[in-house]
Amino acid sequence: MLLSILKRTLQALVVLIGVALLIFIMLRIVPGNAIITMMGEHANPEAIERMTAELGLDKPFYVQFYTYITGALRGDFGTSYSLHVSVSSLIAQAFPNTVCLALSAAVVAWLIGIVCGIIAAIKENSLLDRLFMGFSLFGVSMPVFMVAMVLQYFFAYKLGWFDISGVSDWRGFVLPAIALGWNSAGSIARLTRSTLVEVLQEDYIDTARSKGRRRMGVILFHALRNSMLPVITMMAVQLSSLLSGAVICETIFSINGIGRLAVDAISGRDIPLLQGTILLSTALVILGNLVADCLYSVLDPRVRKGD
């Protein structure tokens, strides 16, 4: 098992390097010289040359990439073109907010998703099941900004229960977390239902029932445990879409997070900042996938014993 975890870690590292290279290439082929954008059209040619040398942009591509990667490994992502501070300090400020937002959204999504999924699976093909599954498709189909703005309108503006934007304390995260978790709740509910329905048809469920365990006990201790494996894999996939949705949520609720930094970086044509935010978000997704893979092999005895 250790060997397979090691192998996966290596694979993840290869993917991460590929990701870094891809971002690096994409941001270097942008039309228009970044330096001119940065210093203005009428900058002194000598100053432009000096700046280019200072930023190392006159060196060959692979040298630039090597310098960037070795810097990034030490936590140095360069200096922001538009804000003139180090990218790592900007990210360090924004990162906890995005993590808080994504985690609380995940909690919302899991609570709603798993509970609805279990109920739908137990009452398979009942009216309740259809209602929940219909609603979950609604959840999946609503754009994040729509949920966010509807919540903002009713709960922050009309009822005044929450701040309209910004986060001063934990309450600031409530609405963004619901808005962000809404989509994922739908897909988690659907997945929980389908795997649980499948597991409930297994022989060992009948065995457990015939031994006289109560239905609820069988569902919670035997069936749910075994149907959670695909849901764990789903968690990693969801992390990626949560980070995508966070961009929108952070913009609407004015949360200083990674996603908003990325949007600001695009409007400010700030390559180092954009590069840093995207690289970090993607690294987070890769790490999440790796953890899910390892969890999977720890939790599933068939995988654990190298079956």
Binding site: L137, F138, P143, V144, M146, S240, S241, V285
Partner: protein, 303 residues
Amino acid sequence: MRDDQEEILTMQMDSPEDVLAEADTLKDQLKRMARQNKLAVISAVVILLFVLGAIFAPVLTPYEFDQLDVINRLAPPSAEHLLGTDELGRDVLTRLLYGSRISLLVGVVPTVISMLAGAVLGICAGYIGGKTDTVIMRLADIMLAFPSMLLAMVIMYTLGDGLINIFLALALVSWASVARIVRSETLKLRESIFVEAAKSMGVSRLKIMCRHIFPNCLPSLIVLFTLNIPSAILSESSLSFLGIGIKYPQASWGLMVNLGRQFLYTKPWLSLAPSIAIMLVVLAFNFLGDGLRDVLDPHLKDQ
């Protein structure tokens, strides 16, 4: 479409095993879905209505999508302007109708591109195997590692704004998952008896991939197609909402939501109307995709 169906039919003749199991053609399967799944039918009708609305937009509304009427700006819904007017006095319903052109195009065009690219790469990876497989799948791994929104943002940054670039960005974001699914289908098909038979008859590799593997991937591709359209529509609206996609004065639903956001508390319908339009279209495609999967996807059909 007819050709495809005939190809599927001939394919089934190639494999005696499957003749009994999958005797019903695509058409029969669709008919079955129509009988069993009313929601899917309603969804198809809703989609058709949106398509008609998009095509006949100039006939359906007396206004132009960029026709300004500053005196009547921010008017509430009325008989003249069913959904009111926006901050420059443009008719919201008109902009919705014209916006559906962009949303539907953005749903279909990048999805077609990514389907084709994903199918070709997936079949090559699965059938040829070896180094080809490794290279294609590692590339897919890299693309799939990105949060899709952020990848689309970087691509839009590189390419610049505009409709064509959105097509490209969304296609680039979504080909990898298609390739992965098609590859695993191909791996299964490669071992099947009719491919074995074709191989023993000396049919070339290219021909096996085109004539035998591809048609058998079609049902999955159709399901993926219907389910990837809504995510493309959502991605475009999110990009336009952030101001990275379609630019003024074009009417895109995401852009309309974005422009309406500054009046959220006083004129909520400005953002709400396009949001609901997005939701309806996406919902319809999701329901239809679900219905199609139930009848077309062999894995679910077995149960």
